[in-house]
């Protein structure tokens, strides 16, 4: 069993007119799609713009999705095509692209400028990202050993529940429970920080 069944259920909800079904799919895959698009554009802000466009294209094409392939495979192709189209548009109109991101008046080559902008364009986003990453890492380190092992085998190694059960020598139901409890603990920590004190951001979703 894999994510295809759950994705297909959500796709069917979206195809029946429930926008929440598609929203759940976007929340699930937005990080992966941005990571994918960043193979083509190194600026995360631009990658998010392209990812947004890809999701909207996917939504428009959703009625034609028949489940012949996994949803993410289908979405992957849309995202790749959208990224390539964005690159082609940039090639057709490089001046506009440079103007959109400042300009080269200070003598920077466009490529250098883009690299520099990657690091400095969205400081708030970078700070937020680092904060979330640090919070998640710290929360996982504080988990009991069995929960930490289960969540890491699942998220980092991508093992199925059955494989994790074999590796940890425990029933599949126990694996399911451990992973759930680990997620709940990390999620609680994220909420505690972002909803309670810092007030700079909230967990995506």
């Amino acid at each position: 069993m894999n994510a295809e069944a759950s994705d297909l259920s959500l796709v069917q909800r979206a195809q029946k007119g429930e926008a929440g079904g598609f929203d759940a799919l976007v929340r699930r895959y937005q990080h992966k799609v941005v990571k994918l698009v960043m193979r083509y554009v190194r600026n995360q802000t631009e990658a998010e713009d392209i990812a947004q466009e890809a999701f909207i294209k996917a939504y428009r094409a959703l009625p034609r999705f028949r489940g012949d392939s996994a949803f993410y495979t289908w979405l992957y192709r849309i995202a790749i095509n959208t990224a390539k189209n964005a690159l082609a548009a940039r090639a057709r109109n490089p001046v506009q692209f440079d103007l959109d991101r400042g300009n080269g008046d200070d003598g920077d080559a466009p490529g250098d400028l883009q690299d520099r902008m990657t690091d400095t364009a969205t400081p708030e986003a970078l700070a937020l990202t680092e904060e979330i990453r640090a919070t998640v890492t710290a929360a996982i380190e504080q988990l009991p050993e069995d929960l930490r092992t289960a969540i890491m085998l699942r998220e980092l190694e991508g093992l199925s529940y059955e494989e994790i059960a074999t590796a940890m020598d425990c029933p599949v139901g126990t694996v399911r429970s451990r992973i759930f409890r680990a997620r709940e603990a990390v999620d609680a920590r994220l909420r505690e920080i972002f909803d309670g004190g810092l007030g700079r951001g909230e967990v995506a979703g």
């Binding site: 926008a19 759940a24 937005q30 941005v34 999701f55 759930f180 999620d187 979703g205």
Partner: protein
């Protein structure tokens, strides 16, 4: 079911470890429950953070929104056009969304091949009309017919009740035989109307072709194709159809491809 049990199900569903039947039920609830979707999104965020993937988050200041929020906002602007169910015409839903988004509506995918067929049909109709008005002259037909006539073809031309004229026979062969099976009849020309171009040869071609053509084409298209105004026909008729009051049939030698007068 308690909240913890539901959250446990959600976690299993996120990992694709929930049975399909339970998936269906939970997906229905997930699509309608914002809090559950927030939790679902949090699971995705935790996984991305563990794997070192780019983290997409929205700031409370509003300076930055995550992709999901931006997609929701963009789609809400097109709420006038709800996505249609999969059971309905799938192309129209996508086009409707595109239209609401300010884009030019595109042709449905299923209509693309149809437009190709339509274009081809238009070209074919134009070709038919062109042929209709550009039928070869009788002399040209007379020159071409012997060269293209199949060796095994035989024709019997029934004399038409036309004004007296000497029967015409080309290349009479002593070995000619009368084969009724291969005999075709050339209809009489209509005065003041149209006549068949090419006479017996085209009649043979028409009848032979009609055996493998569609009835509609046989009745309409081909008959239109070979019909030309009567004033352009005398020469052609004179070479292939006997204009005699005496109905002496003319046969064609299958081997030599020529016509002989039958007794």
């Amino acid at each position: 079911m308690t909240e913890d049990e539901r959250a446990s199900q959600l976690s299993a569903m996120f990992d694709g470890e929930l049975p399909p039947a339970e998936c269906e039920l939970l997906a229905r609830r997930l699509s309608r429950d914002e809090a559950l979707r927030r939790q679902w999104g949090s699971y995705a965020l935790i996984g991305a953070a563990v794997r070192g993937e780019p983290i997409v988050a929205r700031s409370r200041s509003g300076a930055q929104a995550d992709v999901a929020a931006r997609v929701r906002q963009a789609l809400e602007q097109t709420t006038d056009v709800a996505i249609e169910t999969a059971a309905t015409d799938t192309g129209s839903a996508a086009d409707a969304v595109a239209t609401a988004g300010g884009r030019r509506p595109r042709m449905p995918r299923w209509a693309v091949p149809l437009s190709g067929f339509g274009l081809a049909a238009g070209v074919a109709a134009a070709a038919l009309l062109w042929l209709r008005t550009d039928t070869p002259t009788a002399a040209a037909v007379a020159n071409v017919v012997p060269a293209v006539r199949p060796a095994a073809a035989a024709e019997v031309v029934v004399p038409m009740p036309l004004p007296a004229a000497p029967p015409v026979a080309r290349g009479a062969s002593p070995g000619a035989t009368d084969r009724a099976d291969d005999s075709y009849t050339v209809p009489p020309p209509v005065q003041g109307g149209v006549a068949l171009a090419g006479g017996a040869t085209l009649a043979n071609f028409l009848v032979a072709h009609s055996e493998v053509s569609m009835p509609m084409l046989r009745r309409n298209a081909l008959s239109t194709l070979v019909a030309v105004p009567i004033e352009a026909e005398p020469a052609a008729v004179a070479t292939s159809v006997p204009r005699s009051a005496d109905p002496a049939p003319v046969t064609t030698d299958p081997a030599a491809g020529s016509a002989v007068e039958r007794p």
